[in-house]
Symmetry: C2
Subunit: 431 residues, 2 copies
């Protein structure tokens, strides 16, 4: 009774279908995504639908169609003429997760083209662009022509998605963020995969994290999300593989922005923390395999400097100075061990929140971030300690930010007599 | 992490509580209703919360607090000085439900004060104010002073609720209407009861309808709603009783606006359809009982003309001319019986939709309604018919509206060899 003239459906009728636990038709999905993008479905109507989707779920068929509709809301890039097989990586986000920084030039150095469209951080996990923007001169906003040109010349680009890629997703994501409708597996999966389809990559490796510092804490939930995304990517002609990786402990020693760039450069120089190197190589091998370059060993490119050369070319290509010194924090404070023993855990969630409180992250999209703030893990699980040794270092531009972070991080590192056997960082592969 | 300065809660956190099936605290409910009213919680956030409430439910404690918060969003009238015990009636809405028109002056004639705040129709059930506004000169918008003054002098007033009564409900109801979140029992109950508490009545009789023409078709759902409302009213100091009444068949012979006024006047004159008289008297007896006037027989006041006198005073008090002729439809069309037999059913839903299509109702709040359009039941269930007899009459201002209504109403009246035993109109009383 409330259909507006000129529209094939009324929003209330579409919402009611999902509210009552029924399956949306292809036509309803196409219409509601398109009508929302052009403003004919109001924010409050999409919010009610998103909550109904979160609580009622979507079938694989609905999720696939929803994804297709999000791609169709904008441009789909064509990267077939860049002269390299293209492959991208997406992480669901973790604490200290700087892997994109060493991985992208590494895979490019091995012969693939890596079209990385990245985001900024919101909440306790950092954003790749926030990290790169601590490099003097670095530009994250490229035109479509600059994007394709650098992909052709360097084989690697890390930039923000243009406004014309899946605009429905951009609008919907902002809405979900303020309406507590983020945590829906079909909506998360379609959001991620629609952007990757639109960016034009031929292949995609997903790093789906579980554990205290991950968006999805439970392994089973992360596994569900990974399966849905692999299915979605594959159905849209993007060869897709997922690794399920442990995010109970931060990755590496550095959690912040400029300090994660520094740690990434250590990896590109052939050093760096063992877990960061291991995950970088594991993801690189999956990417090269999907790109038809499975016989290339990425470890060689780290050892012989080719990955570092490619990093420098990437940074210079986007206006940055790879040799410029990075910002350093003015204020530091340390957390010390209160007993002898072995570090048994460093809780990723608490470290992530503390880094955020110190200024490394933002509470609202429009907030600035501090380049130098963050947390440094001076000991990681398995490391022996003596009472009084420094476990964690808190870094900030402003000393006033330190007390709240100290409060958060208290007890994040635990010390015992011995460390139980640990599970591998990469827990499962889904193809 | 997303709390705005100055607010004790973040909307996303409140939404998340209900989304995850948990119980909202009193403080969260008070805040979210107040913050929504003043615009600090956005429409899209309240829409997501309303959908979560619809799908997850609210406990009796949450519903009571929600109702209290809606009352607190505006003024609560004090009717203690009008010199009569006050009692009001609310119907959940039905096809041909003109009962408020004869009932209000009837109960006033018996000694109670009836502060009727009514609404306009939306969809297939009519609105009391749309009906009254077909009387030349009648004003539904009264000031608070006019409202109290007429209640004191006449004992009966039927008008629109002022903007200062439960403004949270007004805003929330408009939102629910466009987001498919109307059909939540806690939200329906709190919407109805909050307005009745705010209008200041001491007692309340609820006419909760079930059946094809009712908002809630299932008896069990209507019973749930009635129980929640009786509990809510009582908890807020309003003596509350509910009757569960059958809405599978339209009430009376007239479904529309001016034709329902005419039928109401027949009842006030001591005549009128048996079902309308019976329901009017049943509700009047409940109201008088709650008002401490249980020994007064309202049937006397219909018989001896006191109810009619009070009707005329009510209409004149609100600017109307009770003797003026009412609008008559320009176009009519009939539906005839195709066989001999007995009418076994006249489907309220189809009659309601047809009347709406003929112009008696509105699809959007801003639409006008036709005074004279509607449907007249020339035969009701139980009436014998011969093939070719007129069953239904369609009335419209514009002949172009008739074909769609004819299509809708086809088969609404069914004819059989005999009518099975019928169930009573008033099925149950809940106190």
């Amino acid at each position: 009774m409330s259909r507006r003239s000129g529209e094939p459906f009324a929003a209330v009728d579409v919402i009611r279908v999902k509210r009552d636990g029924n399956v949306l038709s292809d036509q309803q999905i196409d219409w509601v995504v398109d009508a929302y993008t052009r403003g004919a479905v109001a924010d409050e109507q999409m919010a009610a639908l998103a909550m109904a989707i979160l609580l009622r779920g979507m079938t694989p068929g609905e999720t696939a169609r929803w994804t297709r509709a999000m791609v169709a809301s904008g441009t789909r890039l064509d990267l077939s003429d860049i002269g390299r097989p293209t492959v991208d990586k997406h992480s669901t986000g973790g604490v200290g997760d700087k892997i994109t920084l060493p991985l992208t030039p590494l895979v490019a150095a091995c012969g693939a083209g890596v079209p990385q469209l990245s985001g900024r951080g919101l909440g306790h996990t950092g954003g790749t662009l926030d990290k790169l923007e601590t490099i003097p001169g670095f530009r994250a906003g490229l035109s479509g022509a600059e994007f394709a040109s650098q992909l052709r010349s360097v084989g690697a680009v890390i930039c923000a998605a243009g406004d014309d890629l899946a605009p429905a997703d951009r609008k919907l994501y902002a809405l979900r963020d303020v309406t507590a409708t983020v945590e829906s597996i079909p909506l998360i999966a379609s959001s991620i995969i629609s952007k990757k389809i639109a960016e034009g990559t031929s292949a995609l490796v997903l790093d789906v994290k579980f554990g205290s510092g991950a968006f999805l804490r439970q392994f089973a939930d992360a596994r569900d999300l990974a399966s849905v995304m692999v299915e979605l990517g594959t159905a849209h002609g993007v060869a897709t593989v997922a690794l399920l990786t442990d995010m109970n402990t931060p990755l590496g020693h550095a959690v912040g922005n400029s300090i994660e760039v520094t740690e990434s450069i250590e990896v590109l120089a052939g050093g760096g923390p063992a877990d960061v190197v291991a995950l970088t190589l594991a993801l690189a091998r999956q990417m090269l395999d999907l790109a038809g370059l499975g016989d290339v060993d990425p470890a060689d490119a780290l050892r012989d400097g080719r990955a570092m050369d490619r990093w420098r070319a990437l940074v210079r290509g986007q206006g940055g100075d790879p040799a410029a010194p990075l910002p350093v924090a003015a204020e530091t404070e340390v957390v010390r061990a209160d007993r002898d023993g072995v570090v048994t855990a460093v809780d990723a969630y608490r470290v992530g929140v503390a880094a955020w409180q110190l200024g490394a992250g933002r509470a609202r999209k429009e907030d600035p971030v501090s380049a130098a703030a963050g947390v440094r893990l001076r000991r990681r699980p398995g490391d022996p300690v003596r009472a009084g040794d420094v476990l964690l270092e808190l870094l900030a531009d402003d000393a006033a930010r330190i007390p709240a972070a100290q409060e958060t991080i208290r007890g994040a590192a635990t010390i015992g007599d011995s460390l139980q056997e640990t599970l591998p960082l990469v827990r499962e592969r889904i193809a």
